[in-house]
Every structure is written in structure tokens, then in C-alpha cells.
Assembly symmetry: D3
Homo-oligomer: 284 residues x 6
């Protein structure tokens, strides 16, 4: 069960409301790198988790993330105070700055939400929960969370750069700190699981010898041309990160041939011409 | 520019076509953990990449991924050979196994694609390119790729478990190997960038002292109740993974207060009752 | 802020796991009439609400709804215990009932979620938060909530009918009761606002005399033909529900004429033929 | 069958075309509270309706709604007359007002539609017919229609406020009047069905005694903290709106316990560590 | 304005209801090749059309298409009569055919629509109006309509093949005939516009000499390898279809070089390593 | 398999970067008429194609289209050089032109992509692969490709008109030329298949005499009213385009009657009132 105390996790202040910034903040609410996503992602991972320690950790942090959506929704509403709501009023008609604000704000903030936050991104695209990554493999889930917090923190730093409002900068500095912690939190679980050597390849429960051996540590180079530079990096030579082999590199070469598909089925109603037998391989 | 030789990267054979497996393979084509996603993701990361080494690496692997979509699309068409296309034909009406196959296959495979592959997932949901993670920060992008290959390899192992067809098992064993390599490839870049100490927190170019210090390494515990067990793990004590501090843990406590929103704007046309001043804080 | 105690609001038991029912339960999680929707809807309405009483009511119930998603996610995982994960194993191949179960379950439950719940509907379509109705007008929001709970309760009764598992029936009987309460809760607010006479037309803050008077209480009948029966009902005569007029009925008749659009703009690059002046009205 | 006379239901005039307003009008065409939605919603409800009176009423009004989409599409095309279609022409480059108009208009109106209306919302997000609520229960459907017309009328009043164009104000004053009528029309059906006492709880055909009695009229209060104000309202005491009980209120308390999920299935290929038995409940 | 007479354009009968066929029929309602799409497409093209003849033609046929959605929705409801609505009732438990039907039907038909049609495709994916092609160029629009009717007729023939029900076959035979007519109708407009010579290249109003001449009639062959067969067809030699040139063919060769992007902007917060100048071209 | 040489198919230069144009170019990348769509469409058609000539043609052109996405992605990044990334910096605050640019650019270009291209349209709506038309009938597929290239070329001409940048105009003049070639290429296949007489009606493999003869060449006129002008065109009289009949025209008249649906099923839990038998036809 869940409970609420009605208070903000961290103060949310706006000194100079800017409807354009309200729109940008939406990316942190309903964007694919936003807080609704991390919140639902940690919940669904937690509800699937059998280990009570990781279950508690996931659900506890998921619960914290609701408070982040709450903070950002509050910030959106505060930035929309006094937003222009008429195309023809004097301020908009005579002041290019106001006209620019009206052009840059989200029309839906006024039209559909009455100057409040919405569960959409900065372009008004609704959040779609296919972005909730929870596939039941703990290591895959932890890396999915690292991505959520990394893209989230990159977004928060860009929002921080976009504004000069001290209240907004303070709120974002808090969220940036939480994303720092959460990145390290999920990677700490990877470390508990043995780090690269322990978790790779994900899933580590699939019998290693059942995969095609020749291709498991080989960089396949699909580049062609006379002036291709050799690719050299940690990923082309030396031991693999799981310690189970050596990286290699080779030019791409097909092992298969042209595919042979079954003939067109008449009951799919192709054109009559498709029902005639084509030559097995094209010839001149 | 791009080129093709018309051949499969690896052989694709199906001994006993099964339309239900054709449908499941769609998840590896158009699912969020599928090959269209990784292909477009690496392309968009590559086209944005300024470092020629990483640009080449990304575009080269992106180009390989097209061949994986091609293999899977071929596998879908092969599994659809002889699929039932009538609800009332004798085989379906009298053989429960055939009836089950017709029920478990994708109707769209016949109705919309004429017994061929589609860029959709196993439920017929079209691929949506918001899943192409490419945010311009190299470390965030690399972790996004680790997720793509981890979820992709987990999916491939489950598909491997689902079938007994030797051709399909062989094809999947190849893809499982490639996903192994690619996981290690992206993590090798993280290692080139200095590993956890070098890349954390992502982005590492944001001035560290501008985030709220008190909260940057603190596990916030939102759990309540008499029987809550203490949470102890790598993420609650000891040095953080970037080596810049110590993990801590503390019960959740609001730093903020109840939010104070501006009054409802009359031009949003609320109900008249909303325009009356409510009490600043609820009282009994 | 938000907190959790790690416990289920109401017990969730499954005696005879059925993966097909797991799939159907998804509709109550990620369907448009599901619990993610009501949860987010009440949160966003609450975070926008200025009246502390309604704010508290909305946020308190939103917080309860997380527990419902938790219950349903648990129910899905329990129903997936022992689900078939191979097309060719003996049970599936020889037992038509098992084959039917495999055909009727969600492939993604195994392939993408490792036999756990997902934030999608019973067809695997992800929840899309455009269904979060929160437009800032209290009466419109309350009716949106009545719809959420009405469609939710209809769904729950159909799920109740679909299963004979006593544990599932008990869980659904609880959710059906909560949806009953919540329907009445939102309509009680309508009553607090004065019932139909008080809230209609929504928004009641728009000056009534600025709408086109002739059409505000008139049923426009677009039906034609010799055998059209007269329409008689509460909506064609008698006082309107807001007590401000009388219902009427009249056959549809255009007040406008054929629209006159501006000529095609050459810079939209139409076909050349479209740039020639067409006759103002078609003639023979 | 359906027929058309080629004329507008109500005149559509634009004196001063404004491409920004064209974009905002899109919300009333393809937004979730727009006319495509109501049109399709009434059609699908009507085509499912067995009672000829309600069937005729629904289909007749659905047919009227096509005319509303037609009016709005005409209004969009008229507002796009003379819209800027070049970033560098003199007017745009030298006149900040023109620049603001170009910034605030929909690029797709020019790029994809040749200065005409599209079935998208004001942010260019396409209409998605999951918003067509038609679940077969008459009362649920009627409330869904009340929501459609309430959110639609709120939107129309905001659009009315946004413009000073007399033609547009007149058109919107007509649509606002129709939304008034339609709100009352659907609530009139609720009254025909017996009002709150008759229709609640929806569906009223589910045996009342099969829901969990203790929770059916109880406001569950999930708020915690020392300074929580008591919640008092029509929804916490007094008779319920269906006359079948008394409202109550109680603090949230879990009836269930920590969920017990089945062990992780090895064939889902989790990490090896997940296959080890975790402790049944976390302990220190 | 629009009107209705309440009758079906063509009779809809079902002798042996089959819920699986109900699900397949959904593709013809809400699939991308379905009737909602053609209906909305012709409406939006018509509302944008300035030539009264084409406007009337488009709106008249759009109005006919509503009747097709109506027929199909009726057919869905008729096929759902007697559908199984319980996982455990005797028929389902003991009769593998019934079990297969329950597995193959759409759960949402029962759960969300009460055994009625929905505006979704055969996989329950909602129709999304980005498929309404109406770009303001008459020739492009006509070809979009040819596609709508061609894919629609292919779908209808496959549905015809799927069923043996005489009523359903009769209804589909009618729809197949209408799609025949409509294909020819839109191509007749192409002929009115001068056929291939008149309409190509679309748009024909763009000054022909402003496109890059060398590439306008050249098949660019991206195939490589020793065993590539020469490509010979109507599209590699002879006059182009607009009579303005000759087809040619040439192997793909880049005219451009490696792209030179601007340096990474520090305010995008990349990793620090990305801010160091990389070598202009990769070297060994 | 696929290969890359790392070079642009055609040079991409930008003299005066404009972030607003960057946003508009997105329509050509991720719009429904954009290059991702054509690329995936030709790939999926090619992977399904049995005739080696058409297979090679499709895959070869699909491979070319990747290079077009690459060019456009490069153009987007170049146009984003120097884009404003702060709401409050001096340039934005004091220069209305800069303010307009910030308002008209895509916030996501900065916030989510770090000033790089994304697989979304000009409104930030992600590409959705349901727009990949590949239904297995060659003629239907070819017309789908004509639409892709026609709408693509119309878009490219509008983008050409929107900019004065010589580099961008040159790049677009190249793409406009390729779209010209590709339109003619797909229509050349139609000609190889026999032109209108050969391909119509699509599919031409469905037995012609099984469709309802009376309606196959008849324009059904749904227009009513006293002042309806007669419709006369190539589509109302004369031979049909497939040479198999004569066009005709007739006013719409229902052949069917009011539909008779089965009674409401009690297990769908309608309102009790719906379970009472309604009159078979409405009477006064």
C-alpha cells in the first residue's frame, strides 16, 4: 500500500514564470527520459522481483519518483501563471517578446489543461508505457535503470542551462543530484552481481556453448572502400569484458546465401503475374 | 552511402514451419527490444557522432543490424509456409492442433502482409521510433546500447527455448552470439572512457558542485511500518562508484511544504465555484 | 511525498493459474479503463487543484490506486506460474487444452516480461497517457472520473464472470466494491456543486448569453426517409436539466452555405491544373 | 446509409486569418476532446445499441457531428490564407510579428497538408481512436458522452477567448451552444434511467451482494502525517447516492500481506543469481 | 451537412457466428487499410478541395464509406453472438474447438466493448489518423486513394477466403465490388489530368529545371559483389513515363564526402571526453 | 548483407544555420512521407518478394534510401549549429528574431538529442512503422511506393520553397530529382504488368465474377438536396479503366434494412434496463 503526506520532497519556487519553460519541463514529466517512465519502470520491476531486498529497493525508489513528478507538475503550473491566453490582446499584439512567448508555449497547456501540467512531453506527445523496461532479468533491468537516470540527468542539466530562474535552478540541482545517486545505485547492484565479469553476457544463465562460437567476440566490420581507416579500440583486441575470450575484428562476409522463400500462396491474392514461377536466381 | 550483396549474413533454415513462431519472431523485428530499434539507434547515434572512430564503429554496426532484420524477416516468411488461411477448411475444423495454430498465429500476417514479415511486435503493435535512444552524450548512448543488446539477447534466448526447429535454433544461436559481442563492445567504450570512475555521474561535464550536495549519494528510504527490514547493500554504504563520496541511507522526509499554486485563472473557464478563494490550508 | 509499507491492500490468491486470464487482467492494468489511467488521472487532477479539500481527496485516492495496480500485477504473475514456454514440448503437442492455452496467452508475457505483468492492455498495446483527463474544470474532471470508474467497474465484472478461481473472484469483488465507492465519490462532488442545476452547462463560468441561443436546447434530427419514427424522450421536450430553458427538436437544416475557400496557394506545389480557376459553384 | 447536401451547418467566416489560430483549432478537430472523437464515439455506441430509440438518437447526433468537423476544417483552411511559407522572405525577416506567426503556426499545415486541416491535435499528434469510449453499458456510455461534451465545451470556450475574429467567435458560439445541448441530452438519458438512484453503481446488473461489502461505501484515506486535516464532504458521510448505504471514512490499512510470488522460472533466462532461493522475507 | 436513413447500404447476414472472424473483420474497420481510414481520408481531401466537381465527388464517396463502417460493425456484432465469456464453463473446458475459439477471439471484444465492434484493427491496435493522407496535391491524393482501395480490396479478398459463411461472403463480395469501382474512380481522375504524361512528376508545378538533372531519371544500383546480375526492366532504359527523358542505370557512387559536423556544443552536456577535439579524419 | 563507405551520397552544406529549418527537415526524416518510411517500406517489400528481379530492385533502392536519411540527419545537425539554448541569454532576451527562432525551433532537438537529428516528424511525433505498406500484392505495393515518392516530393518542394540557403536548396534539388526517378520507377513496373488494363482491379487474381456485379462500376451518389449539380466525369460514363465494363452513376439507395442485432448478452453486464426487450422497430 501507499501513503502520502501532501508535501513536496523539495521546495519548488518560480520567480519569473515563463510558459516556454513550462513546456520544456514537460519533457522531464512525460518524455521518454522523464519521471513517469522511471516511476512506472521501477514499480513494474519491483512488483516482479522475488528477492525481498531488491524488491524493497525498487519499490522504495519508485515511490520516491512519484514525488518528482509532483515537483515538476507544480513547477509547470507555477511557470504558467500569467501566460498569455489571447492572440489579440494588447500585450501580445504590440510586444514581440510576448508574441514570442505565446508562439513558444504549449497551446495545449491552456486549451486542454487550463494552465496545468500534463503527462506529455515538450511536444505534447503523450507518454507511452512501452518505455517501461522490465524484462525480468535483473542485470538487464539494472542497465535499463542506468539509462533512465543517465538520460534523465542529461535532460535535467540542459533544462538547468535553459533557465536563469533561481527557484527553477535550485529544484533542478536537486533532481540532478538524485539522478546522480540513482545512477550509482543501479550500478552498485551490478557490482554486487560481480561486475562485468559476473553479469556478462546478459543473461548469464544461457549455456555459453550453445551460441555460435565464431561470432561471439568478433567485431564485424561492414565498412568498404579504399580509404577505410583501420578500427582499433578496446573492442577489437584484448580480453573480452567477461574474461571469457579475446576480442577480434574481421571484414563482413556473408555466411548465408540468397534466401529461398516458398512460392507465393495463391490464397493471399497476389497479382496473377506473381503466381508464375520466377527464375530461381536472376540471370542475364 | 550504403551497399548490399543480396545475401544473408548467416543461413536461415526452417524445417517445420510454425505460424505461431512466426508471430513470436516479430518481437525480435519490431518489438522495443528488436532489431529495427537497434539498427536505427546506432544509425542516429552515428550520424550525430563527431569522433571519427566512434562514428565509424556505430555506423558499421548499424549496417550489420540491417542484415539481422533481413534474417528475421526471412525466418518469418519461412515459418508462414502452409499457414492455415481459412476458418472452415477441414484441417482446421477437425484437427484441434490446426485450430490452435490458427488461433495462435497473427491474423495480420495473412490479412495485411500476405504471409510475410511486418515491422511490428508479436502483438501486431507497430514499432515506434521514440525507442531510438540517441541523446548526444556518449556514455548515456553506450548504456542505451547495452540495454538494447541485453534485452535483445534475453529475448533471443527465450525464442531459442520456445522452438525445437534446428534451423531456427541455429539462427538464434548466431544472433545470441552477436548480442554477446555487442554488449561487450559498448561496455568496452565505457572502459575506454575510464569505467565507472571516469563516466559517472553522466553527464560528467556538468559542474559537480552545482548539484544539491546533501542528496547526491543518499538512498532515500520511503518505506514505512513497524516491520520494515533495514536495507543494506552496496548502495547504502561504502564509497560511491565514481569515487567521489560515500553512500548513505536515510528515511524519506519532505524538505518542501504543501505547494502554493497561483489562483485559478478565470480565462481557463473553470466552474464558478473554483473562482472563489479556497482556504490557504485546509482546516477542520 | 509518498510512502509504502510493502503490503497488499487486499489479499491476492490464485488457486489454478491460467495464463489466458493473466492476459485478460492486463486490460485492468494498462487498458484505457485500467488502473494506471485512473491513478495518473487523479494525480494530475490533484496536482492542479487549488482547493485543499479536493486536492487532498484526489491525491489520497490516487495514492490508493497505486495499490490496485500492485494487486493486479501480482495477480498476473501468479496466473503465469507454470505457463507453457515451448511450442514443442509434450504437453503442448499432445494436449489440445495446453495448445489452446499457449495460443490464448500473451507471447510478450514470456518473451518480454519473463512471466510478469506489463503496463499494456490485453492485446499488448501500451498504455498511452493521453487518456489522463485533467482539464482544470472541476465538474468536467469529476465526470471524467465517473467514466473511469464506470468503465473500470464494467470491466471488473466481466473479468469476474470470466474466471471461476475463488482467489481471483475475491480480489475482483474487492475492486468492484472500490469502483462502486469511487463512482459515488465523484458524483457526490457534483452534488456538492449543486447537481445538474448547479454544474450545467460545463463550464458554468462562460457567459450564458454569448452562445447561440437558438441551438442551445434543440435536438437536431439528421434522420431522413419516409419511415422515420418520431423521437420522443426526456431530451426532446420539457425543461432542460439546468433549469434554464426547454428542450426542443427540429429536423436538421443548414444555416450555412457551400464553403468558399481561398484559391490554392501556388507555393504549396499543387498540380498545375489546380491553379486554374475552378467555377465558383459546379454547374452542368 | 448516409447522405450530404454539401452545405455548412452554420456559417464559417474569418475576417483576419491567423495561422496560429488555425493550429489551435486543430485541438477541436483531432484532440482527445475534439469532434472526430465524439463523432466516432456516437457512431460506435449507436451501431452497438439494441434499443431503437437510443440507437436513432445516437446515430442522428453522430451524423450531426460530421458537420462540426466540416465546419472546423473549413475554419482551419480559412485561417491559413496568406500564411508565411518561407523563412527568409522579407516580411518574415523584418517583421517580428510575422516571425512570431511563423514560429507559432504548425509547420505541418504547410509541409504536409498544403495549408489545410488535418486530423491531428494542436501539437500535430494524430487522433487515436482508443479514445472512442463505447463499452456496451448504456449508463457508462452516457457518462462518457457527458465527458466528451464537457471537455469539448471547455475547449471551445478557451478558443473563444483566444480570438477576437468576429467570424470565429460566431462559429464557436454555435459550437458552444451545441455542446450545451449535448451535455443535457446525455444526462437526460441518465434521468430516464432513474438518475443516480437508478443507474448506480454502474453496471447495475451485477449482483450487489457479490462485491466486498466492507469497502463499497468507504473513503479510504491514504494520507499520513501529524498535520493531516480531517476530510469532510458529501462523500464521507450521509447516504450514498444510490440510496443503498452510508458513506464512511477510514485510514488506509492493508488487509493483505507482502505478496508471495512463485520462484523465478529458469526458462525465462534470468541472471543465475536470481535462481538462488532468496529468503522468504527480508531479515536483518 | 449530413443525414442518415438508419438502413444498411447492403444486407448483412451471419449464419454461423464466429468470434474469430469478428476479430479478423476488425482489420477492415480500424486497420490501416480499413474503412475508417478511407472515410476520413476522402473527407479531409474533400474539405480541402477547391474544385467543386472533385470536392463533390470526394465528399459523396466519403459519405458512402460511413455506410461501410456501419456494415462491418454490424457484421462484428453478429459474429459475436454466443461468444464464450468464461474460461471455465463446460463448453470451453471440454470442447477443444470452443477453447480454440476463445483463444482466437479478441478478449477486448468482450471485456471492453460488450461483444460489439471497436475502432481498432485485428490485433486491437487503435486506428491512428496519421494514415489519413491528404496533402493538397490532387494527383498525390488520388494515388493515395488508389492505395487505400487496393490494399482494402486485397484485405477483403483474404477475408472472403477465410470464411464459408454465405452471409459474410455476400457482404464481402459487395465490398470487393465497391473497392473495384473506387480504384477505377481515382485512376479515372489521373486520366482526366492527362495520365502519366500529364501528372508526372508529382507535383508537376515545381519548375522541372530546378531539380538536379543528372539524377532525375537514373536508377542508382547499390548492389555489389561478383555475382550481381544486371538489372533490366522498363525502369532502366527507354523513355521515362512522363516523356521528358530516358531512363538510365549506374552503380552507386558517392558524390559527397564524409560529413563535417560542427564541434559538440558544451551546453549540451556531453561527456568531457567529447569536448576534446577529435582528429578530422580517423587515422591509424 | 549490407555495407557502408562512410560518405554522403550527395554533398550537404549549410551556409546560414537555422534551427527552425532543422525542425522542418524532421518531417522529411520521420514524417509519414519521410525517408525512414520509404526505406523500411522498400526493405520489407523486398524481403517478401519472390521474383529476383523485383527483389533486387526493391532492396537496391531501399539501400539507397538509407543514404537519404543520412543526408537529412546531417542537414539537421548543421542547421542546429549555434542554436539558442537559454531562455534568458542576452541575444534571446533583446533580439526578437532570436526569440522567434527559439520559439520556432524544436525544444527536443536540444533537450533530448543534444542538437542532432531524431527519428521524429516536424512536431516531434515519433515515426510509427504502421506506415510501412507491404501487403504482398505487387501492384498494391507499387502504388504504395508511388504515394511514398509523390508525397515525399511534394514535401521536398515545400521545404525547397521554405529556405533560401543555397546548400539546402542544392541538397533538396537532389532529393527532388530522386523522388522524380522513383515515382517513374514504380509506375514503370505497373506498365510492365500491363498498365491499368493489366493490373486492375487489384488484386487481379480474385475471380471477377464473385464480386457483386451491379455495384462494381457504379458511382454511388450520396448527395441530396434541390440544388445538387449533376456529376460528370471520366468516372461516371465510358469504359472502365480495366476495359471490363462501363462506368455508371446512380443515387444512393439502401439495399439493406435496419440491422437486427442479437439481444444484449446479460454476461456483458449492461444496465438492467438494457435487458428488457426493446420494440423491434421504434414506434410512436
Amino acid at each position: 500500500m501507499f501513503f502520502t503526506d501532501g508535501k513536496l520532497q523539495y521546495p519548488v519556487r518560480v520567480e519569473a514564470p515563463d510558459p516556454r519553460f513550462a513546456r520544456m519541463l514537460q519533457q522531464a514529466i512525460g518524455g521518454v527520459e522523464g519521471e513517469i517512465r522511471v516511476c512506472l519502470q521501477y514499480f513494474f520491476q519491483g512488483w516482479a522481483q522475488r528477492d525481498p531486498k531488491y524488491r524493497d529497493m525498487l519499490l522504495s525508489t519508485a515511490t520516491e519518483e512519484i514525488a518528482h513528478i509532483e515537483m515538476l507538475s507544480t513547477a509547470v503550473a507555477l511557470n504558467l501563471e500569467g501566460a498569455p491566453t489571447s492572440l489579440q490582446d494588447e500585450a501580445v499584439a504590440q510586444d514581440p517578446a510576448m508574441a514570442a512567448i505565446l508562439g513558444g508555449m504549449s497551446a495545449k497547456h491552456y486549451l486542454s489543461a487550463g494552465l496545468n501540467a500534463m503527462p506529455v512531453d515538450s511536444d505534447g506527445v503523450p507518454f507511452d508505457s512501452s518505455h517501461v523496461y522490465a524484462n525480468g532479468n535483473l542485470a538487464a533491468d539494472m542497465y535499463s535503470n542506468v539509462v533512465a537516470e543517465s538520460t534523465g540527468r542529461v535532460l535535467a542539466t540542459r533544462l538547468y542551462n535553459m533557465t536563469d530562474d533561481p527557484g527553477m535552478k535550485d529544484m533542478l540541482a536537486f533532481l540532478i543530484a538524485r539522478d546522480d545517486m540513482h545512477q550509482q545505485q543501479w550500478l552498485a547492484v551490478i557490482e554486487e552481481l560481480g561486475g562485468n565479469e559476473g553479469v556478462l553476457p546478459i543473461p548469464n544463465s544461457f549455456p555459453h556453448d550453445q551460441q555460435v562460437q565464431d561470432f561471439q567476440h568478433l567485431y564485424v566490420d561492414t565498412r568498404i572502400g579504399d580509404d577505410v581507416m583501420p578500427l582499433e579500440g578496446r573492442f577489437t583486441s584484448g580480453p573480452t569484458l567477461d574474461g571469457q575470450g579475446q576480442f577480434g575484428i574481421a571484414p563482413a562476409e556473408p555466411v548465408g546465401d540468397r534466401p529461398e522463400l516458398p512460392p507465393v500462396a495463391p490464397e493471399t491474392f497476389p497479382q496473377n503475374e506473381q503466381l508464375e514461377t520466377p527464375p530461381a536466381t536472376p540471370t542475364t
